[in-house]
């Protein structure tokens, strides 16, 4: 496959995964607000920190209100990582990669884009916003499911899987931050009593609640949730699982040595920080061939 096409597919996957993740992030924040006692300082502004777009936001809006922040994160085309921007980049990438994809792949993304542009105004109230976000998440999942069932396991797909998992690991780490930042900012308040609810919602945002409960049959505790999201190799959104997926795909590609080394360095860093506990699957990454092998 053309090198240029590989780059497009990698970014297509990242942008689509980002679209889904922003939807999840905003949705979970709303859910959390309903659960917490009135007067709790649950900051919509935390979302800006997590997405790393505080400066961009300040250039566009004055006040960190729910309205402004959700609009900026979902609908603002001046924000390059907003949901609508991500989705339209994804659409542009797949539009020019149609010859590499199963027949309907382009239509799925195009339809989702048309839906989003047509209904974007419904996000101005919470009820409409929730419906919109769920539809976006479903649309992304539909695409992922279709690709799983229709796309050959070729190099094109390897780049897609790599892009998706890189973006996914990135967002899982950001969502973990969300819980941590929220709780550390409100140590003095009654929010601590609600700690369990915060972590429950973090799991919810990753569709991981039931799977977590099956695994950890105890009251939800922050430390265990973090460990689950980092190290549970059976959970497809855990950082560990995503890295392993990337590692497998890399080894199937030609000229992979450079990337393998990058990944190895990354894993070593995470391990040194005590974030990743070594698992057998990850150990295999650590024994990758040396350059020139």
């Amino acid at each position: 496959m053309l090198s240029r096409s590989a780059e497009r597919l990698y970014w297509l996957a990242r942008y689509l995964e980002r679209t889904e993740n922003i939807a999840r992030l905003v949705s979970v924040t709303m859910n959390l607000i309903y659960d917490l006692p009135r007067g709790t300082e649950v900051g919509w502004h935390n979302l800006l920190t997590i997405c790393g777009v505080e400066d961009e936001f300040k250039q566009r809006f004055k006040n960190t209100t729910e309205q402004n922040i959700t609009r900026f994160l979902l609908a603002d085309l001046h924000n390059p990582s907003s949901l609508l921007s991500s989705l339209s980049y994804a659409r542009e990438n797949i539009r020019i990669s149609r010859e590499l994809m199963p027949d309907e792949a382009w239509e799925f993304v195009n339809e989702l884009y048309l839906y989003a542009t047509k209904n974007i105004e419904t996000i101005s109230n919470r009820q409409g916003r929730e419906v919109f976000l769920q539809d976006i998440i479903r649309g992304c999942q539909r695409f992922t499911g279709f690709m799983a069932g229709a796309m050959s396991r070729n190099d094109s797909r390897r780049f897609i899987v790599m892009g998706r998992n890189l973006e996914r690991a990135d967002m899982t780490s950001r969502i973990m931050d969300f819980g941590t930042v929220l709780l550390s900012e409100n140590r003095n308040s009654l929010l601590r009593e609600y700690e369990g609810i915060v972590w429950l919602n973090v799991l919810k945002s990753l569709s991981a609640t039931s799977m977590y409960r099956k695994q950890v049959r105890r009251r939800i505790k922050g430390e265990e949730v973090l460990d689950f999201l980092l190290n549970n190799n059976e959970s497809p959104r855990s950082v560990c699982h995503c890295l392993q997926k990337i590692s497998y795909k890399i080894t199937e590609l030609p000229h992979a040595t450079g990337l393998q080394l990058e990944l190895k360095t990354l894993i070593e860093k995470l391990t040194a920080l005590n974030l990743l506990t070594t698992t057998p699957q990850l150990a295999s990454i650590n024994t990758l061939p040396k350059p020139g092998f």
Partner: protein, 484 residues
């Protein structure tokens, strides 16, 4: 609203109407369609149109328009009422088109080699030398099967008497075939019941035929030749089609910078595995942009050294560079003669009578009859720079008089044909609109003609300009087998 209002005031007496006679009765071939539309009625038909428009958006069928506001991706304009042709008539047209392309290819090969047609006095030599599409760089080349124009889109029109004429042959980078196929997909969604009750010839054989034709051009016998579609990129008005054809053929879609010609004069593409050799290129870039080494130095679309590789016989280019020499409205006038000369046959499809302004006598006729004629520049495409005499203002007539006198070689004139019409859904009723037809003809080792082609329709009442860039639309074309 009553169903009758669908046909209210339908006047089919100004030109040959493809569906109705001048007396307002449906032609035998179109009876099923006419009564179906009647039964459906205005409201349902409008609903189906809405469904078709939604399908076009979802399928992302678009074309790019250049404007002062930048490039806009526009939804493909489509009229849901199909245009019907009987298989028996089509068979004759198909034979005529194959015959024509064969003769054209003989001619192009002759032009770049012996020039017998010219030496024997059938064509003045200066018409070739002055042609904007003649490429001296191609002299002496012999593409496989003597086939220079491998993909041709010929425009057909039907006049008031019902006779089909060839209006022009597009031998450079003709487009529209993807829309022909997508139109059928939309029609299947919109009129499923109708398609079941008629014996309509399918149109989706084209990509496989194109693939086989391209594969047959590979310079060296190879089990699986590497084929690529070379596009100018996403800003080209036909980008949709380039991607569509690459996808349907399962070949790479490449841009100039994806390709490189190495010191061995072979073409390679840059892949994730390294450089991979390319055997056949279906290029959708004009000659002059193909290779900055030979043609325009400033071309960022082409590939340096591509002509070198082609001349060395290491890569096949379709259409071959220089094939456009026969895609010239002056040369067009000589096609019937070519058919007699090269094939020793009589032309099956007639040419539209054409006056060459380069000939003093014919020029004189053109200048004195300008208001009745259609004047076309010899080398333009897309319906630009034309004068439709009967529709033109005094000022436009004066302007063209001057243009023609200044550059007679650049212009031809033809009688204004009353292009046939076809019922077209306008607002909430049907009106006759002028149409043409662009079938696509392939010639490599074998010849192939699409089943029908792309019917283009001038959406403005009375207009004769069918080009999508100038407010034209399209229709699905049904070749119907009436034999049981």
């Amino acid at each position: 609203m009553t169903t009758n209002s669908l046909w209210k005031n339908y006047q089919a007496d100004k030109a040959y109407d493809e569906m109705m006679t001048a007396h307002g009765n449906a032609r035998p071939l179109c009876k099923t369609l006419e009564s179906y539309l009647q039964e459906l009625g205005t409201d349902s038909l409008k609903n189906r149109r809405t469904a078709a428009e939604a399908a076009i958006l979802e399928m992302g069928i678009s074309f790019t328009v250049y404007s002062e506001q930048g490039n806009i991706d526009r939804a493909w304009p489509f009229d849901i009422v199909p245009r019907l042709i009987e298989l028996a008539e089509w068979k004759k047209i198909e034979a005529g088109l194959k015959q024509r392309l064969k003769a054209l290819n003989c001619f192009i090969n002759d032009v770049y080699n012996e020039q017998a047609f010219i030496k024997e006095g059938f064509l003045p030599a200066d018409l070739i030398e002055s042609s904007g599409n003649f490429r001296p760089e191609c002299i002496g080349m012999n593409p496989k099967f003597g086939s220079w124009a491998n993909i041709c889109g010929s425009d057909l029109v039907r006049d008031g008497e019902g006779t089909i004429y060839v209006l022009e042959d597009n031998l450079r980078v003709p487009s529209g075939v993807s829309y022909m196929m997508e139109n059928r997909v939309i029609t299947k969604r919109v009129f499923p019941e109708l398609l079941r009750n008629l014996d309509i010839i399918p149109v989706d054989a084209y990509p496989a035929q194109l693939f086989d034709m391209l594969a047959s051009l590979a310079p060296h016998p190879n089990v699986q030749p590497q084929i690529a579609v070379l596009t100018p990129g996403i800003y080209n008005s036909a980008y949709f089609e380039h991607a569509f054809l690459a996808q349907r053929m399962g070949v790479e879609l490449v841009e100039g910078f994806d390709l490189v010609v190495e010191n061995d004069d072979c073409v390679y593409m840059r892949t994730i595995k390294g450089l991979e050799k390319v055997d056949v290129i279906y290029r959708r870039i004009d000659d002059l942009f193909l290779d900055p080494e030979v043609f325009r130095k400033d071309s960022a679309l082409g590939v340096k050294g591509l002509m070198r590789a082609w001349k060395a016989g290491n890569v096949a280019l379709a259409n071959a560079p220089g094939a456009g020499v026969a895609d010239d409205k002056v040369i067009y006038a000589y096609v019937p003669k070519m058919i007699q000369y090269y094939l020793n046959e009589e032309p099956i499809l007639p040419n539209v009578p054409t006056y060459l302004c380069s000939d003093p006598e014919q020029l004189n006729y053109v200048l004195t009859h300008l208001a009745e004629l259609v004047v076309k520049p010899a080398n333009e495409s897309g319906g630009y720079g034309m004068l439709v005499g009967p529709h033109a203002s005094q000022k436009e007539l004066k302007q063209f008089e001057q243009l023609i006198q200044d550059h007679p070689r650049n212009y031809i004139a033809q009688p204004t044909l009353a292009l046939s019409t076809c019922p077209t859904l306008c607002d909430d009723h049907l009106e006759p609109r002028h149409i043409d037809l662009r079938p696509f003809i392939l010639q490599g080792e074998h010849s192939f003609v699409t089943a029908g082609g792309l019917t283009r329709v001038a959406l403005r009442a009375g207009s004769l300009i069918v080009n999508s860039s100038q407010g034209g639309g399209s229709k699905d074309t049904w070749i119907i087998n009436t034999e049981q």
